[in-house]
């Protein structure tokens, strides 16, 4: 695939946001908030950073692998997967409907190309990514393994088991990203369960930590991922703290937990789509 410019990637992101909103609106269910907040990240991964093959093979030998731990933001993943050729874009219209391959939370049961493990019950993706990364080491495969987690998800205990393990066993072909939007379903993380200082927590566990200060700026996101990659292979797992705004790209959705799991109505959809240009053609 030809390398896309930042502007071209931003155009893809605009379409991805339209896909997210239209999918969630159509079934009046799903999670638009963090999907919109992570749109630059997913676009940068699938259209710029990952070495991957849309002719999907589960094993992913000699490919970079991506795992989504906070599976509820499936709309953004489904959009980038279909927009990068894993399955027809028309299939997005089946999101969360009966007999669809696009389950509410990502799953392998229906053989949707691009998905390697089910997620949705939180806290499990980091462990899975570690296993996949260690398998690559055994196989002498020098590609990377990426995983995205939520910040609220850091409240799950399994994550800290995995964090301890990855540092102890020097799983340094792993780049974990936390979507630091400071929101969870019941409210701001500061009120629900204060994360205090995730950088200090992970550093004390033995990780290399970087911040991507503007996770909704394409250039910054790519710079962050490039930096993370440059720090890999040095004996420590790498954490990328991706500072995002939930609902980014739609003025009335931005920066609040209110749109975590709420679908826009007809008028709200129209208002939102008016803010996002249709760059690649709606499905």
């Amino acid at each position: 695939m030809e390398k896309k410019s930042t502007e071209q990637l931003q155009e893809v992101a605009s379409q991805v946001r339209r896909d997210i909103l239209r999918m969630v609106h159509q079934v009046q269910s799903g999670h638009p908030g963090a999907s919109l907040g992570c749109t630059e990240f997913f676009t940068a991964l699938y259209f710029d950073q990952l070495k991957h093959d849309s002719d999907f093979k589960m094993e992913g030998k000699n490919e970079d692998l991506f795992f989504l731990s906070n599976g509820h933001i499936s709309p953004v993943w489904y959009s980038v997967l279909s927009r990068s050729g894993y399955f027809p874009i028309e299939e997005m219209s089946t999101f969360r409907k009966l007999n669809s391959r696009l389950q509410g939370h990502p799953a392998t049961e229906e053989d949707l190309p691009g998905i390697r493990i089910a997620s949705g019950s939180l806290g499990q993706g980091l462990s899975v990514a570690i296993g996949a990364a260690q398998a690559k080491k055994i196989d002498g495969d020098d590609r990377m393994v990426y995983v995205l987690m939520g910040d609220g998800e850091q409240e799950e205990g399994q994550i800290w088991e995995a964090a301890m393990y990855a540092a102890h066993w020097k799983v340094d072909n792993l780049i974990a990203t936390i979507d630091l939007n400071r929101q969870q379903i019941d409210g701001p993380t500061k009120e629900i369960m204060d994360l205090i200082d995730l950088r200090a927590k992970y550093e004390s566990f033995g990780w290399t930590v970087i911040d991507t200060e503007n996770g909704n700026d394409m250039k910054s996101v790519i710079e962050g991922l490039e930096k993370a990659k440059s720090l890999a292979g040095k004996g420590k797992p790498v954490l990328n703290l991706l500072h995002t705004e939930m609902g980014f790209g739609v003025d009335f959705m931005v920066g609040t937990h209110k749109w975590h799991g709420i679908a826009p109505n007809d008028q709200q959809l129209a208002d939102a789509l008016a803010q996002l240009s249709e760059t690649l053609g709606d499905y």
Binding site: M58, E59, G60, F67, A118, S121, V128, A129, M164
Partner: protein, 322 residues
């Protein structure tokens, strides 16, 4: 009592079933380079040391973190590795049920969950560790195969067989030294019940350590003129319903015997099979809705009603209901 009985199966040696697992894992690892091992700080108890020593690069010590171990195993399997996880049965199931459900069963990953110290025969450690609900939890998960072998040889054969089987498996074994009464060269067929003793009056369906108790019970019943058929149900799921129905069609009544709650265990599975096809009398030998306690394996099997004498009594109750 055993000495005076004319047993159809005998033994010259006793060993723990967990050693069958350890030795089977080593052989499976020698046969297939994709076999990898994981353990949550119980390498000695699970007898995984020989595998670790021979294949250090294919062995993963996770520390006391079973949830993480299950996730890592799932991740390893994606590239084609065949992960065998090892910890106690309690920590292999209840503690990590959601990790198994989502990352292994629902995701249909080729992970072998190998669980030692199952049941009452764990002994003195007591009820915190004596899980009696694991077969039920595991058999309810779609895609999951559930196996509970009866002695060292069968556990070793089962361990090697599951390495060749594609899909998630729960393999349950235990701690006590136990008679080795099945052949060393047996072929282990997943899902295929083994008729060990022919009989015509009552069928005893037994799994795990209680297969040995069933062998003793058959001899005791024979002395009283009752002909019992003994069937070794090493695979709880998929259940060999054909073997069960064929036998009960002949004998007309049955006993299930397991080191587990009969609520949710082998007894339940056999009852479901019979009720839909041939509602013959069935008596359960299992734990009746209680936790275990500290004691020796022999004491516990007696107190909780799981030994040969209990199987004999259950067989007579089943016969009386024909």
């Amino acid at each position: 009592m055993e000495k005076t009985l004319d047993l159809k199966f005998n033994y010259t040696d006793k060993k723990d079933t967990r050693s069958g697992f350890g030795d089977g894992l080593l052989e499976a690892g020698r046969k297939n380079p994709n076999v990898v091992g994981l353990c949550a700080d119980l390498i000695g108890s699970l007898k995984m040391g020989a595998f670790q020593k021979e294949f250090p690069e294919r062995f993963f010590q996770t520390g006391i973190a079973e949830a993480n171990m299950m996730g890592i195993a799932a991740g390893l399997s994606i590239s084609g590795k065949i992960p065998f996880t090892g910890t106690f049965a309690n920590f292999s199931t209840g503690r990590v049920y959601d990790q198994i459900r989502q990352s292994i069963a629902y995701s249909d990953k080729n992970v072998k969950i190998c669980a030692s110290h199952a049941g009452l025969t764990l002994g003195e450690d007591g009820a915190t560790h004596q899980i009696l609900e694991d077969l039920g939890m595991m058999k309810m998960l779609p895609h999951m195969t559930v196996i509970n072998p009866c002695d060292y040889n069968q556990t070793k054969a089962a361990t090697m067989a599951i390495a060749e089987h594609e899909g998630p498996v729960y393999l349950r074994f235990g701690r006590p030294v136990w008679p080795i009464f099945t052949p060393a060269d047996q072929k282990f067929e997943i899902g295929k019940a083994w008729k060990m003793i022919d009989g015509k009056d009552v069928t005893i369906f037994a799994t795990g350590h209680l297969v040995w108790e069933a062998v003793i019970a058959e001899a005791m019943l024979r002395e009283e003129g009752i002909s019992a058929e003994v069937i070794n149900i090493h695979t709880i799921k998929p259940l060999d319903t054909e073997a069960i129905l064929d036998s009960v069609a002949k004998t007309g009544c049955a006993v299930s015997a397991e080191e587990h709650q009969y609520n949710g265990g082998l007894g339940d599975s056999i009852a479901q099979t019979l009720i839909r096809n041939n509602p013959a009398p069935l008596e359960y030998v299992g734990v009746d809705d209680s936790f275990g306690e500290s004691g020796t394996p022999t004491q516990l099997l007696e107190k909780y009603g799981l030994n040969a004498a209990n199987i004999v009594a259950a067989a007579k109750r089943a016969l009386a209901r024909k």
